[in-house]
């Protein structure tokens, strides 16, 4: 392994030399190639670069400074505008490609894996260069950011080399000739630039993807990013390819509405992607088998019937007006709880979050309504919330573990401490 890294370093240095000696064109960027710039802009949308590298409300695209929450502390995103001193203007194209696909900074320092290079590594060199070509065209902003904000020992970047050794497998995407071109395109986008697993794949104790649990859901930022495999209960098994495309395009489909961190992903990224690419991603996700527990109930013990009865009554009083008595909601307005994957995730964080704090669904041009769920933290006790959430997780054929008042209390406390 060591020798491979040395080799890579040598290659990078050579490329950097070449870039500086031969100019940008030789490295694959032509400033007049507007097709390349446009492709790069699109890939930057797919990669959702702006989500981390643009501070919302700052008016300065890609100038960094946005706090990035990780399980190990908060980082600040760097400036990736072409500013030569505080941005990446002085970087060679190869340095840029290395950062994107190998997780190395300008002088060989390691990037924190909050930068999804573990996914971007699948990008072809052409695509990585296209992104660079696009970033060359955005206004340079002088904005010095000190990204290192983590506490000891995580702030010691040399430890990241060990992390990479353990968890990072660099390498461009290799199409699977046994699968369709559409599936391959979907895999390239979802596992590469799109980095879906960054939120949706469970992590180990060092924050690396648990490869055996790909896309089966992960708790982060006060939410639970749900299972997006084709699992019929907790995943996308009940959604058609069209449902997934509608959701990614508009934030809404017949049964569901995007909220929480996915709202931002929708606004900045998926809503701007082509229908063909969204369909490719949908086809790819529909091929992910997931846990494969179709038809099985999620917990061995059926929920306590007294709790269910109490939950049913709370549901009738507080929820049924919008979500309707049979839990099916109103298409485009009130999400269906009946058969809802989000409701049935093993980890109830998202449901508890929504019930306690309420939630604003995303508004998009084709679906501007952006209906919101009011908060119930002020009116329902921990026991009430536990009962009603247990009820909706197990009514109408739904099945998921019962929620305890203790879990509700914990989520309530977490939400009090979170400002977002």
């Amino acid at each position: 392994m060591r020798s491979r890294k040395q080799w890579l370093f040598a290659l990078a240095s050579a490329a950097a030399l070449c870039a500086s000696a031969c100019g940008a064109a030789a490295a694959g960027i032509d400033k007049q190639d507007f097709g390349q710039i446009e492709r790069g802009e699109y890939l930057a949308v797919v990669g959702d670069c702006a989500a981390c590298h643009t501070l919302p409300g700052s008016g300065h695209a890609f100038a960094g400074g946005r706090p990035i929450e990780t399980p190990f502390g908060t980082l600040l995103s760097p400036n990736i505008t072409p500013d030569p001193t505080t941005g990446i203007g002085a970087w060679t194209d190869q340095e840029f490609v290395n950062a994107l696909t190998k997780g190395t900074g300008r002088h060989g320092t390691r990037l924190y894996p909050a930068m999804p290079y573990t996914y971007y590594t699948k990008l072809t060199r052409d695509d990585a260069l296209a992104i660079r070509a696009y970033l060359n065209t955005v206004p340079a902003v002088h904005n010095a950011v000190q990204p290192d904000q983590l506490p000891f020992p995580f702030r010691m970047r040399w430890t990241l080399a060990m992390w990479d050794e353990l968890f990072f497998k660099p390498g461009t995407f290799h199409p699977d000739p046994k699968k369709s071109a559409e599936w391959n395109r979907g895999a390239y986008l979802a596992d590469g630039a799109g980095h879906c697993g960054m939120c949706h794949t469970p992590k180990n104790f060092l924050g690396a993807d648990d490869k055996g649990q790909r896309l089966r859901g992960y708790a982060l930022q006060g939410w639970f990013a749900p299972d997006i495999t084709n699992d019929s209960r907790r995943g996308l098994g009940g959604w058609s390819v069209g449902d997934i495309v509608a959701y990614l395009k508009t934030g809404h489909n017949q049964t569901s509405a995007a909220t929480g961190p996915m709202s931002e992903t929708l606004n900045l990224s998926t809503s701007k992607m082509t229908d063909a690419d969204l369909k490719a991603i949908a086809v790819y996700l529909k091929n992910e088998t997931g846990e494969g527990n179709a038809g099985k109930t999620a917990s061995a013990d059926p929920p306590d019937q007294t709790v269910m009865k109490s939950g049913e009554q709370i549901y009738a009083d507080e929820c049924s007006g919008c979500h309707t008595p049979n839990g099916k909601g109103i298409a485009g307005l009130f999400p269906s709880l009946n058969s809802s994957p989000v409701v049935q995730q093993t980890d109830p964080t998202t449901v508890l979050h929504v019930v306690l704090r309420g939630a604003l669904s995303v508004g998009t041009k084709p679906a501007p309504t952006a209906p919101a769920m009011p908060q119930f933290a002020w009116i329902l006790s921990d026991k009430d919330v536990a009962a009603v959430v247990t009820y909706i997780r197990n009514a109408w054929g739904n099945s998921a573990p019962a929620v305890s008042a203790g879990q509700v209390a914990k989520t309530r406390k977490m939400l009090v401490e979170r400002s977002d």
């Binding site: 507080e318 919008c322 109103i330 485009g332 307005l333 508004g363 501007p368 309504t369 919101a372 009011p374």
Partner: protein
Amino acid sequence: MARKLRHKDVVIIGLGWTGSILANELTDAGLDVVAIERGPWRDTATDFLISYAQDELRYRLHHELFLRPAQMCVTFRNNSSQTALPVRTWGAFMLGNGAGGAGVHWNAETWRFLPTDFTLRTHLTQRYGANFLPDDMTIQDWGITFDQLEPYYDQFEYLCGTSGQAGNLKGAVQPGGNPFEGPRSRPYPTPPMKQGYGHVLFAQAASELGYKPFPQPSGNLSRSYTNPLGVTLGQCTYCGFCEWFGCANYSKASPQTTVLPVLLRKSNFEARTDCEVTRINLDRSGKRATGVTYVDTSGSEIEQPADMVLLCAFSLFNVQLLLLSGIGAPYDPNTGKGQIGRNFTHQTMSGALGFFDKDKYNFNPFVASGAIGMCIDEFNGDNFDHGKLGFVGGGYIGEVQTNGRPIESTAVPPGTPAWGAKWKQALHDNYLSTIVGGSCHGSMYSYRDVHLDLDPTYKDRFGRPLVRITIDFHDNELKMSAFLTDKYAEILQEMGAAQVVKKPRKGPYDVTQYQTSHLNGGAIMGTDPGNSALNIYLQSWDVPNLFVQGATAFPQNAGYNPTGTVGALAFWSAAAIRSQYLKNPGPLVHA
């Protein structure tokens, strides 16, 4: 000295129905628009929570959604011989406040006026002769026809998703609809509301008596609906908390549920809430508005320059701002000269209570909605021969179960003590078997003496004179009200009521008795500056870059709720601005 802001293409005063519609139309035309709203921002999930939206004490009795009299008030008197006094708590009408305006707290009864309502003076004079109308009645034609306005009624109804049954499709009378309505170009966007037992009984009785009952057109929707702007509304749950309340589940058409979500996404739109416009500024000629001055919550005075000013506040305050800004000549009831403040009208509401045998009838009054119900239109406008009746005007008559709320829906038979065990027993016995929701929605025509002007004594918190209302019922309206009430009582009898208590409207006009919040006129539209403040496109005759929206423009009121016509006029005016004014800013009609 007011701080002066960067120039905008359009400044809108008030973000209710008309402000929202105009803002959406003009931002679509590419203009940079700012709306300045006196009240707070309001949206469904944060302000009308399903858990407490149905609080009768908070919203109905304590007026949570309405303007605070300390914030802005009006003064009232019945006639010029009296001294007007400030209205300390709202009674006869409710004045909305905040984003969405009255579109938040309305009942959502979404009517079109009759074709003859638009040509009222001409029509009545032709049919009954010039001497038939009282001398002091100042009704006039609108200057536009129903057919001209029809496409814009349609536009408003499709924006709202209005639930109803067409009565006249392109001239062909439709079974089950209102046979008297003007020809509509297509059916309502959603089917009629489901009707309760009392409504069904009313319809049966009305049919027995030879009338043609039809479901009331409703902006509380019978089913979910996505409007042409892409905004989705839900299905009404018949909770009966509509008028005075914000709708908690997105099923009442309001700016919040139809337009604002789209408007807020536009980069060329901005709303400034909790900011009160104190005057419209004019240039030295007095013929061009240069923008507005407003005061924000810190008390700072701010000037917003703009090319166009759209006055979209509530009718009373539109007139107040015109008077305070020196736009147009104030109306003088002694001479009949001047247009600002003229032809102010309200409504002439009446009804009857029907007490039914409690062992045979159960109306479940709490299963209700603001615009549910069955109505007849035989006695509206000039749908019937007034020749021998000695009055003009009329109204729709309907059994409209808007609510069964616990505090106010407490009708008991005459003779019951006002409190105590006997009152409780009577309420217990009658709650389910009494029809209280019937109404005769009578018109109020305009008169020489009924008007608005600035109060000589009382000032608002900025030291500006309050608007003064001078209003009383005239014999014509009281006769009409008695006639309509009798007709409704006959239907109640036919329905099987054991006891009917008629409640015709009586004079004098009482500012403490709620009727409706339909205050109209004061800066009316018309064909020339001698008979109106606005031309037919709602453009000020005096200041052509000022358009005044809303029921302010009605020359007189009809026997319907006004919002459908308010919405239609907003779209009509917007179309004229987009297709004519923007290409060639200036008067759209040359006087």
